[in-house]
């Protein structure tokens, strides 16, 4: 992509949107999944639907999509937490997907990640899965770069503690 193309406004005509979808959909599904969404595809689809409703965008819609995925996943967690508080005995048995997580090689890391607060988990995933810079993470999460640095530092420390405790 040339710099001229990069600075041009993104017009989400049907073909363009389909191209963005092909290029970014799986990334958004996986981002939602790594953030612990119970239905990552629904989150990703909603993010793309909002992108289409938004109209003209900057050249790269990925930051917008990532921000929407983070926000929707965080909201979904909050919603589920409220439901679980109202219905204490709900959903006691793990789903088959959760069971698969427990069986995988990196189960301890993923379990420790899941125990982090939502913002810390987002920072960790955006940094170490997507390799975003602290500034890019700050833009995605709507926080300052300093807060990103703090979230990353605390998140890594918490993960290290959790893994040491299980070792």
């Amino acid at each position: 992509m040339t710099s001229q193309q990069a600075s041009a406004p993104f017009s989400p005509a049907a073909d363009d949107m389909a191209a963005v979808f092909r290029a970014r959909y799986l990334e958004m599904v996986r981002l939602a999944g790594l953030l612990g969404a119970d239905d990552p595809e629904d989150i990703a689809q909603e993010a793309f639907a909002r992108l289409m409703r938004k109209g003209a965008l900057d050249a790269d819609p990925a930051p917008y999509l990532r921000a929407i995925v983070c926000n929707l996943t965080r909201n979904r967690h909050r919603h589920l937490r409220v439901i679980r508080e109202k219905i204490p005995r709900a959903v006691a048995e793990p789903s088959s997907e959760q069971a698969a997580i427990v069986r995988e090689d990196h189960a301890e890391v993923i379990a420790a990640l899941a125990a982090l607060p939502a913002r810390r988990r987002e920072a960790i995933v955006l940094r170490f899965w997507l390799d975003l810079s602290e500034r890019e993470i700050a833009t995605t999460m709507g926080i300052s770069p300093g807060t990103v640095k703090s979230q990353l530092s605390r998140g890594l420390a918490a993960l290290a503690r959790a893994l040491e405790a299980k070792a």
């Binding site: 799986l26 939602a32 793990p94 789903s95 990196h106």
Partner: protein
Amino acid sequence: MNNHPIEGELRDALAAHAQKFSASPDAWQHVQAKNAGLSGHRRARSAPSGAGWLARHRAFVVPAAAAAAVAAVALGATAVAHGFSGTTQPGATAYASAKPGYSPALVSVQVKLPARTMAAGSSMPAQIIVDNKTGHAIHVNGCGSLFQLALESDTYHPEVGWPLCLQILTIAIGKSTYPVPFTASYLNCGPAAPGHGTTHVCVHGRPPALPAGEYRVVLFQSHHVVSAPAPIPVTVTPVRSG
């Protein structure tokens, strides 16, 4: 910034775990449907949810049943309009409507009761265990809960309804357990001398207890999600006086 000792392991774990999430082949159609503003694809943000809400608003439930039935018809039409093909691709998303887009045989349900005898007017904390073997999460347009249990007999057939709101309720892959308490009481009531239909006179603002006798626990669904299990016999005993 120096690398943290666990960075490498963390990157490997995230990369490996990410591979477990895949895209369904009809995802683009779902996005277009959401973008078109089809309400069934949107999560209701402020709508009440959960069995607790249902329990607190039980008196409202049955009066709303007729309207809910109308809404259910509309929602069914919406789901059909989404063009779901009925295929069961791994990782795909299915939306249940009047005609589910999956084989009901792949979704089984079991009702668990802690006892087979209960006093009239008392509540029993039953559970419904749904085993979703379709390979994908199932989404249903509904409100509050997918399932209700109620007692029926040869002479009493409860009218079960759902409150009016629009939420997307999800049945996860694998086994999910839903707490579905039910009471040995009528489901609806009205003021004294109702003079119409089967409405029973409220006692302290609540439906009166069922008379003692032999009943069956029957599963009701807001949409046809699973094949109904066989009713379970339950004996309702008289309320102990004193």
